[in-house]
């Protein structure tokens, strides 16, 4: 089902969406950068923006995710699960980030399902904005996660100039449109043609970044990447964990108890497989004591056939955030290229 909404109608639509719950969208942050944040007013929404450095995964998998409240009543401990069932709408998120959330959801649905994550995901409506101009560092075309999507969104918008083309992907998407039914009308034939043409053009406008997973995957999966190459790439890694924090598909975590308002709250917190202590055991034994081993781990998880089989996709959505954040240039396209060529740039 395809519809259009005139551009001047979006403010009214967003007002209706805001009545139903939190709407998270790209906005101009206090320091001028673009961030995903809960809207206070519909006019805050950016329509032409550079994708924020931090993906919207924090709204389904918060960096500090409270799981269990632990209270002490006299000598008696009481534990209760913490549930977040708030309805949220992600608005104007890019295709790569939609695919990132789809990846996280599949992982958390797998046996055993993770209620804390799934409650948020099930109450989340994703309204994406297809990329008519790919971002400069993006390579989503290599990971089948953009510039336009054919699934994964609840509603996909495309900027047609005077109006937005709206493709319905789910009942949640229909419900989002039904908040302001008078604003939407069925798309005409020529609008469908325009949207198709925009996608075709977008695919020709990618920047220089590419990421050919095929042959790299073959080598990673069979342990045929030379140890010396991992070591060389490990030398460039600064162990900052930035790649993990900004990655839409990274979800590794640690569990910690935090003190809050006179009770303990057991929290899941983002962790990074690039940190030395990630696999450190209490005994002092560390199976991944060297950077090369941790880097090997990261890319095995991202791009091995073993994980591809499990997740039905590589652990990369081609957003290019690791390129922007990595000071050592050991980001996804560089590492994949080095593995393919068998050598690291000097």
């Amino acid at each position: 089902m395809v519809f259009t909404i005139p551009k001047e109608g979006t403010t009214q639509w967003l007002e209706k969406l805001l009545e139903a719950g939190e709407v998270i969208a790209p906005v101009r942050g206090p320091c001028g950068d673009v961030i995903f944040s809960a809207l206070r007013s519909p006019t805050q929404v950016l329509w032409d923006f550079e994708n924020p450095l931090h993906p919207p995964k924090q709204f389904v998998l918060p960096q500090t995710d409270p799981l269990v409240k632990i209270k002490l009543n006299g000598q008696r401990h009481e534990v209760e699960p913490i549930h977040d069932d708030a309805p949220r709408t992600l608005f104007n998120v890019r295709s790569c980030d939609v695919k990132g959330i789809a990846f996280l959801t599949r992982m958390h649905e797998a046996d055993p399902p993770d209620a804390s994550y799934l409650r948020r995901a099930r109450n989340l409506t994703i309204i994406s904005l297809a990329c008519t101009t790919p971002c400069p560092a993006g390579f989503c075309v290599c990971t089948d996660s953009g510039p336009f999507l054919s699934a994964g969104y609840d509603l996909q918008l495309t900027d047609l100039g005077g109006s937005f083309f709206a493709e319905v992907g789910s009942e949640k998407g229909e419900a989002a449109m039904a908040k302001a039914p008078e604003l939407f009308r069925k798309a005409r034939e020529d609008e469908v043609t325009d949207r198709t043409a925009l996608e075709a053009v977008a695919k020709t406008r990618f920047g220089p970044e590419t990421c050919h997973f095929g042959s790299a995957m073959r080598r990673i999966s069979t342990g045929r990447v030379q140890d010396a190459l991992w070591e060389k790439m490990g030398d460039w890694c600064l162990e900052c964990g930035g790649c993990n924090m900004v990655c839409p598909t990274c979800y590794c975590f640690s569990v910690k108890d935090l003190r809050q308002n006179g009770a303990w709250v057991r929290c899941r917190m983002w962790d990074s497989c690039q940190y030395n202590a990630f696999a450190l055991e209490a005994s002092g034994h560390n199976p991944r004591a060297h950077r090369k081993e941790r880097m090997k781990r990261r890319f095995f998880h991202k791009a091995s056939a073993q994980y591809y089989t499990r997740d039905s996709m590589v652990g990369c959505v081609g957003c290019g955030r690791c390129i922007k954040t990595c000071l050592g240039s050991t980001h996804m396209p560089a590492v994949v290229a080095a593995i393919r060529k068998g050598k690291w740039h000097e």
Binding site: P81, A115, V255
Partner: protein
């Protein structure tokens, strides 16, 4: 949907000092006193919470044939165990689990059982040993080889005495460094192989202990004709969630917490990354 991170409260019923740095805690569920809801296999582990400090994985050292309470033997070695050692009778902890695959007790029926343990490696095997001894007629010969650094580092000293006196169990104990009042074997665990008769074709070998000990014991067992799939061990990794999600214990695409911790030696050899 279950809240997979929600622990259940248990009370410490007894604390027993095993060695200067190791204690055995006997735990009983506070709200399910008979523990009937908690079904586990030997070799499985639980996530034990010390509230305010966090949680950590410990193997269940008691046997499922003796339900009601859970026992776990803990060496004080990190932040959480440092807090745990301060707890005593009546104090509350949290339990999640059981996690992991555990030992396949059904498949071991009719087989000779060889247990090889080093130091703190005995607790996970103790669960299986008592399971086997409580169903003694279902298994063949039972041999237990156990070694520790010094006589002080031997855990379950009372039970070693019990096992040693049983006619249907062959128990040999050794220490790396003896003191003047020690009259037993001296040397590392593999020296005990010379003192027992093994039938590799009908025996399952369960090996648990520090990595260096496992390496030498497995090498000796294979040399003596054991098949790789008859040598069974438990792997140890840093674990947090227990359900294969947090990725701390991953080896390749396998998770020690979910696909393990029990692996036979052929599976271990196939773990690649």
């Amino acid at each position: 949907m279950n809240d997979v991170f929600l622990p259940e409260i248990a009370c410490i019923e007894k604390v027993r000092d095993e060695t200067p740095d190791t204690k055995t805690f006997t735990l009983r569920f506070r709200d399910h006193q008979n523990g009937n809801h908690f079904h586990f296999l030997p070799g499985q582990f639980l996530e034990l919470s010390v509230f305010g400090c966090g949680e950590a994985p410990f193997c269940i050292a008691s046997s499922p044939t003796r339900p009601g309470v859970l026992e776990t033997t803990v060496r004080h070695t990190g932040q959480l165990t440092d807090q745990l050692r301060k707890l005593g009778n009546g104090d509350e902890v949290g339990i999640r689990g059981p996690f992991g695959n555990g030992f396949d007790v059904q498949a071991a029926r009719g087989k000779d059982m060889l247990f090889v343990a080093g130091g703190i490696g005995l607790p996970p095997l103790r669960s299986l040993i008592w399971n086997v001894l409580d169903e003694r007629d279902r298994f063949g010969k039972v041999t237990i080889l156990y070694g520790a650094r010094t006589p002080h580092d031997l855990v379950y000293k009372d039970e070693l005495e019990v096992w040693g006196k049983r006619s249907d169990v062959e128990l040999l104990v050794t220490v790396d460094v003896a003191e003047h009042d020690w009259t037993g074997n001296v040397g590392v665990v593999p020296i005990l192989f010379q003192k027992v008769t093994l039938h590799p074709e009908s025996t399952l070998a369960y090996v648990c202990g520090p990595p260096i000990m496992i390496r030498f014991v497995v090498r000796d067992l294979l040399k003596r004709g054991f098949k790789e799939e008859s040598v069974i061990s438990t792997l140890e990794r840093m674990m947090q969630c227990g359900i294969g999600k947090c990725n701390h214990c991953a080896i390749g695409h396998r998770y020690v917490c979910r696909d393990g911790p029990v692996f036979d030696y052929r599976q271990i050899a196939e773990l690649v990354e």
